[in-house]
Amino acid sequence: MSGRTTVERRPAERAVATRPVPLASPARPRRKNRLTALLGSGAVQAVLILVALVWITPLAGLFLSSLRSERDNASDGWWTALTDPSQLSLDNYTALFEDSGIGEAFWNTVLISVPTTLLVVGIAALAGYAFAWLDFPGRDAIFLVVVGLLVVPVQIGLLPVAKLFGAVGLFGTVAGVVLFHVAYGLPFAVFLLRNYFAEIPKEMLEAARMDGGSEWRIFSRLVLPLGRPAIASLAIFQFLWVWNDMLVALLFADSESQPLTVALQSEMRQFGSNIGVLAPGAFLSLVVPLVVFFAFQRHFVQGVMAGSVK
């Protein structure tokens, strides 16, 4: 029971656990020597601007390449479009959706990542609550095993699960991909939510129990709403993880159920002659994560930070 109270953690642990990791840090008091500070910060600014440009350039390159014709891409670099914007058109994108099965693959990506996210969050929330607040024999030992499973690499599951899915007819289906992702998303999800739920003040739960609320009621009416920040971070991280996955789907999906990443990967063999498909396809796969990134910046950063322990 002693572990239930909030503990003062060291900054490192706090950063990796569920606490906010803001992009914005509190402003520091200005330095005394204004002039040297100003000169110094001039050089610093120049360096940082350069770094930011270097970071943006590859992404800009992909975007501009995706808007140029196959012939333009073969003859010169995307940066010529900066001085000659007449090269740019949406033709690649319309062509992409008309044939090549990329549209279907995009839809498969949605069909894989949305259910996975819901299942991981739902199953992990139930388990996390039980591990934090319900008593059952072997609870802490089982929980430690779950935490230990956190670093089992996906690779080790590929072959055995492929055989297993083959036996029950799940191989090559969206459901199979989803199940695999859910299983490998659970250790981290349970770990994260159990820790977050454990910090709910004990008095609140006991009061709810006194009032005769069933555990299910307490879970759904009290714990879930209180756990919203952690659940949001987890959901965003999990969604992104699965949306961006290639390895799992490469094995478990067939040509009917393959997501965008796998469809694009199979185009890599002709790299150089099909930038008109690869560049817009890759950009298309980026759009959803980027929208999520800008829409839920704070949760996004927290989710990625927390999820990186995987």
Binding site: A12, A127, V151, P153, S220, L290
Partner: protein
């Protein structure tokens, strides 16, 4: 899910047959059952799809490719004998040593620097952006960027631009001299005048083979200037009049000079003077002693242009892919370290400043030690992630170079599913991968336990 739970929960409570007289014990047992129902879905999935596969893989790794013959540890010794797998181990080692160190260092540096500017948030946003991008997309992005042709790959375009800004770009790789018009030498240079010159003389050096769009924009119509008594002058020009006409070996009105050529006056095998041609192609050597000279155009004028670096060739493919990995993960390291930096008590730093410590001392003696836990977390996290890197290597390395770029995870994939078809060796590799992350697992679990107690 809610429905199944509601439906199941009462049933779990109902059958209390037999002797359970104590209502409190009964209630407790019910509670336990309920708790099991809460964790059951998670445990079922984890058991079937995570725990069982680990056991299966360990067992499978002790059998041969067909899965029928028990071979003991043979697959594990094979790992350290098969040259392709050894190469993967070597590459994985490079990855694990280089990438986390660079990322932690870069993250620390940028975190400290961003504290000094006001647009830190925007900067962090830009660097964090690649974390949203899939490795597949990052792979495509960098396949484009690493393209060898400097006209198409942005990185080589930058490399060539920097290279050429230091050395003189060879302006006329395709130029060659008109035959039998006074110049000796073969295509690619160097060229020397066949006849000797004395100060006061001048020479016309006619070339062909430069396409109109390859001519420098500053080129002007060729002109021959008068030379002084101690000077030798001349003009290097394109002996080709656009639209036809013109006389071979003579400077015609429509013909342009070749600016920027290096020209040397040679006497007795030694360079006596050198000059660079002007916009109209003219040059002159001043202050020459009397004697016989030849005029020479060194080969550097005609060298093939620098073509940049073969990033995705066998030699550089791993560093190149690590570069792409840095692009994705630097923002992560920076933001996490930045959060740690913000948590350092201000008064510790202020006190040190009061005592006259320099910024460098403060950084080394206070900031870094206080940040050590954060740096460790970043480092360990990166080691785990680097160990498992797959997509980037799989996507960026071109087919023929794949073997040179392989890491454990890609090798495991290729052995098991990508044509290798040796699931015994593949299982052994995946078990090795698991064993390598076990230290990180222990670190994680310990950290977790410490934070609980």
């Amino acid at each position: 899910m809610a429905d199944t739970l509601n439906a199941r929960a009462p049933r779990a409570r109902a059958p209390q047959t037999g002797a359970a007289p104590d209502p409190r014990r009964r209630a407790q047992r019910n509670k336990r059952r309920l708790a099991f129902l809460f964790v059951l879905p998670a445990l079922l999935l984890l058991g079937a799809l995570v725990v069982y596969p680990v056991v299966f893989s360990v067992g499978r790794s002790l059998f041969d490719a067909s899965g029928e013959q028990f071979v003991g540890a043979a697959n594990y010794t094979e790992i350290f004998q098969d040259p392709a797998t050894l190469k993967a181990i070597r590459n994985s080692t490079i990855w694990v040593v280089v990438a986390p160190v660079l990322l932690t260092g870069l993250g620390l540096l940028l975190a400290v620097l961003t504290e000094k500017v006001r647009w830190a948030t925007a900067f962090k946003l830009v660097l964090f952006l690649p974390m949203a991008v899939s490795f597949l997309a990052a792979g495509i992005i960098f396949r484009l960027a690493y393209e060898q042709d400097p006209d198409r790959g942005v990185i080589n375009a930058a490399v060539v631009a920097v290279h050429d800004s230091f050395g003189d770009p060879a302006a006329y790789p395709t130029a060659r001299a008109r035959e039998d018009q006074g110049l000796d030498g073969a295509a690619g240079g160097p060229y020397t005048t066949t006849e000797a010159l004395r100060p006061g003389g001048s020479v016309t050096l006619g070339f062909v083979g430069v396409a109109p769009d390859a001519m420098p924009s500053e080129a002007r119509p060729a002109a021959v200037h008068k030379t002084g008594a101690d000077e030798i002058g001349g003009v290097a020009y394109l002996d080709f009049a656009p639209g036809g006409g013109g006389t071979l070996g003579k400077v015609d009105a429509a013909e342009k000079g070749l600016p920027g050529m290096t020209v040397e006056a040679v006497r007795d095998g030694k360079v006596a003077a050198s000059a660079t041609t002007a916009a109209d192609g003219s040059f002159r050597f001043e202050g020459l002693a009397d004697g016989e000279y030849t005029v020479r155009l060194p080969a550097s004028n005609f060298a093939a242009p620098y073509q940049g670096v073969n990033w995705l060739g066998p030699a550089l493919v791993t560093p190149a892919i690590i570069g792409a990995y840095l692009w994705v993960w630097t923002g992560f390291a920076m933001v996490l370290i930045g959060a740690g930096l913000a948590a350092i008590p201000r008064d510790a730093l202020e006190a040190a400043r009061m005592d006259g410590a320099t910024e460098g001392q403060i950084f080394r003696k206070i900031t870094v030690p206080l940040l050590a836990p954060v740096l460790t977390v970043v480092f360990v996290t990166l080691v785990i992630n680097v160990m498992k890197v797959f997509d980037l290597v799989y996507i960026i390395a071109p087919g023929p170079v794949q073997e040179e770029a392989n890491v454990l995870a890609t090798r495991m994939w290729l052995v098991s599913f990508g044509g290798g078809n040796d699931q015994g060796l593949g299982s052994a590799l995946s078990v090795l991968l698991l064993l390598l992350v076990v230290p990180a697992m222990i670190f994680n679990v310990r950290r977790f336990r410490r934070s609980r107690s």
